[in-house]
Amino acid sequence: MTFASPAWRMAWREARASAPKFAFVIFGVAAGVGALTGVRGFSAAFHEALRREARTLMAADLTIRQFSPPTPAQDAEAAKWTARGARLTLITETISMLGADDAAPPVLVSVKAVDPSAYPFYGRVRLEPGAALASALTASTMAVSDDLLLRLNLSTGSTVKLGNAEFTVCGVVRFEPDRMTGSLNIGPRIMITRDGLDRSGLMIFGSRASHRLLFKLPQPGAPQRIDVQQMRDSLKKAFPEAMIVDYRETHPLITRALDRSTTFLSLVSMIALIVGALGVATAIHAHIQQRLDTIAILKCLGARSAQVIRIYTLQTLLVGVAGGLAGVMVGAAVQRLFPVLLARYFQFESIPWNPSFALEGMAAGTLVALLFTLPPLLAIRDVKPALIFRREMAEVKPKLAARLRKQLPAFAAAAVILAGLGGVASWLAESFRMGAWFVGGLAVALLLLASVAWLLLRGLRLFVRLSPFRLPVALRHGLANIYRPGNHAPSVLVSLGIGVMFTLTIFLVQKSLLKEVMGAAPKGMPNVFMINITPRDHDAVREFLDSRSDYLAPPRLNPLVPVRLLSVDGKSPDEILQPPPGQPPGQRRRRGGCVRQVTWLEDRPEDIQVRKGAWWRKDDTAALVSVSEGTAGRLKIEPGMTLRWNSTGRDFDVRVAAIHRVQSVRPGADEEFLFNRAALAGLPAQYFGAVRLAPAKVAGFQRDSYRRFPTVTVINAADVMNIVQEVVDQTALVIRFVSAFAILAGAIILASTVAGTRLRRTRESAVLKTLGARRARLIAIFSVEFAILGATAGLMGGALATAFSSTLLTRFLDARFQFELVPNLVTILLTTALAVTAGWLASIRILGQRPLEVLRDE
């Protein structure tokens, strides 16, 4: 291979001859870039999978819901988007009575009229018998929920009457993707076509119905693209009274899972990259240390510092690109490996290899490797050609000002590194704020570690000098090795400390995050709900619930009390909710003073988090309420305030005890206001039941319930809850998996960082052996040195990781932080073990070398 430029030629020749030594550097970059591209590629696919689930839950990418049919202006706005590639379908939901024959009384049903050729855009309506919705549902047929068949004693093929028209029952709706996002879920569900709705004559002027416009956006790769936010903003103007929801917020659990996993995964990839780069920097540093003679010779022969720096920069670049390429391959493998390993748990569609991630990974890897090797590269300037004559002897020490002046380029380099890393971090995390925190954390960590290294060196020197008793030889030599001039203990300590900090940060963050994520969908979360239970039926339903034993979690029977909020500390909600000038009142006003079905709770459920104030005691006799964070914000409610309510003509006051956050979704009662028993005592209540059953048991439960309590409606949310639960479980699994991968990669790189220092011990070992030291003694000396470095790095890294993860959790992941003593202690032990083992492994060859081989080379 020939190169036109001498620097390139030199760089290539050197790299060619040092290929085995560079293997590690290439490995470092490859590990970092591999983790980055693999995790990013995988996380993109994972997000796509989550979003698919989110879209399934609303059967669309974006929905608009309002209580009046779209006006011509609104139709025109919707048409604007269909012209740009979006697809649209309309759903109308209403309540009506349905009869079978004169023998049975008609039943209140919840009617859903769809266009089966378009609906649902995502997911599938499962019918029994298993025909496709589009073929089974015609203008004269109807799909119904199984409880309707029970109530009216019908079967597939029976004829029923809805409004003015007769319909044939074509099947039972087993799964309806958007069941939980629709409205008017009262009574059994029936599904008809829009033509069927027209035929029924139910929709006349003024009919109460909810209209949903479902949009599907052009898919990635389609010629037209629509920005969902832009579309939403535009639609909001045309539909000011409507509720507009897009797939990013269908379900709070999925939204949070998405947000958190995005942040966490980009965090992990960034950390992987930095730990990889750290390994590279250490290796390049060691390489340049070995090349000091070559650099001195080059300078003797007329090379300027800039020329030499260019040679080694190009070399780093060569190695960086080689490592980057290897990393992209590793990344592609990782991206393929993840779904295979996780296939048992969930289904990924094939993850396409994304060249832009590969390029980004290469660019980030090479850039970070170059940034991190800046200090050793700049140190080339300080290599004096006279080194050939005189080794390891300092000049007369210059004055502080002169020393600082000399360090100016190093400070400038540090600034460039931090700014560059900040840029890469902001880019990867797509957040400038996160980039800034990341770099700030790194800078503080570097400063602290450098200070600790300085203190350690001086402390050890003092300890050895002032020690009143004679220390064993191995201990004395091991300690002296750390502080002797020319030793690289500070740089090893800083690299190891930073590596430990990042690796443990991943562990701590994932641990806290998992706790939150799992808490959001507790295993016992109900999936079947019974509504409309009257006080008269309460005891019987309780008995019915208690008579069964096939629950996955204890059943709950909670009261529902209709209440209306009158005032907050004397101010009416309307007063507080005065819309900003120019904005129509509409929704905001409705939310303030509407009738709510509220419940009381004694103990705080684990998916409810208190953000302010305190939850009540079971035996509290004062009337208390806890308000959800969002509502408290809107109505400006704080703990200690008094809320006045009205229920069935009776006014009562309640004190705000707490502000809470609901982590999961529990249909049934209003979750914006949760009362204690004392607050709602004596008020007329209805009840709702919530149980968790295996999906296969739900139909039987529904049948039994209907037989005993015909007026009680059972809502089967098992399938929907399954999706939610799966998303949460999958997120947790991915977080665990990616963390384990990153931690493993981090440990390997850290071990290599320690191993990279072996070269400087070669000569010392040779001299000690010549003087009669046996291998066991050499091993003891190295062990003392590495154990101290490892323990200090573990301790400092642990402390820094605790601080860093607390910042990340509270500021970026919206999660709580808790100090973890055990992981910190384990980290110290593991880092010590890792440093000592890596030191031993790296020293095996040195220990086996004949002293003369080494000394002759000097």
Binding site: P6, A17, L301
Partner: protein
């Protein structure tokens, strides 16, 4: 001597810090070396010979005093200016050869020319010619580890003459070799020196080798204790 000196030193001192105390290696050297001279610098170990050679080459800066090369003051030049000056005016032969282990014999010889931006065929031809002169025409592609000590030193000799420097500095250049190889190297050095017309400064312990020089300077404890010029026979 009527000609302008190639090297001129006035009151040159050099001190270093060992970490615990300060060591004065050179304690005031005044010296002039003229074009075409073959100077041997002698002295016991620790007398300051190598340090002096390093200062003459601009590899290091004196603590005090002045050094002029070809009339230009070099003692206060920056690192890069010194590098450039060395590349242009000085050839080196070291005791431990100081070849770059990752380059072949030919690449090592070519290196000074490449660093100066001379990368054409002319440079390659000269490198091969010099290697042929030192008897290594069939070792061009060998790496230093594949060569014997004597062969490595010949490569170093060829490299020192690559850019036709007016001044050649040799530091114990035969010190690592047996007497036969050592003598061969010195003969080659002297022959090449007279062929290329350079000034030669040789640091050595060996009185026999020093006897070949036209001038012998002896150092002791950082001071010049004798400066003998041989009268032409």
């Amino acid at each position: 001597m009527p000609s302008q000196p190639v090297l001129s030193l006035q009151s040159v001192t050099k001190s270093i810090d060992t970490g615990t105390h300060r060591v004065d290696i050179l304690r005031g050297i005044d010296l002039e070396i003229h074009p075409g001279e073959f100077v041997a610098v002698m002295g016991a170990s620790g007398s300051g010979k190598s340090t002096l050679l390093g200062l003459l080459a601009g590899l290091d800066s004196p603590t005090t005093g002045s050094i002029q090369l070809d009339g230009d003051e070099i003692s206060r030049l920056g690192e890069d200016a010194l590098s450039e000056l060395r590349g242009r005016k000085i050839g080196f032969v070291f005791q431990s050869y100081q070849l770059i282990p990752t380059l072949t014999a030919e690449e090592n010889v070519l290196l000074p020319a490449e660093l100066a931006g001379e990368t054409g065929e002319q440079a390659a031809t000269r490198a091969r010619m010099l290697l042929t002169t030192v008897g290594l025409q069939d070792r061009l592609d060998h790496y230093p580890v594949q060569l014997s000590g004597g062969e490595q030193q010949r490569v170093a000799l060829a490299r020192a003459f690559m850019r036709k420097p007016p001044l050649l500095l040799a530091d114990e250049s035969t010190g690592n070799l047996d007497s036969i190889n050592g003598r061969q190297i010195l003969d080659l050095l002297v022959a090449l020196n007279s062929q290329e017309g350079a000034t030669l400064v040789l640091v050595t312990h060996d009185r026999d080798l020093a006897a070949l020089a036209t001038r012998i300077i002896t150092l002791r404890d950082g001071l010049v204790v004798s400066d003998e010029r041989k009268t032409p026979e």
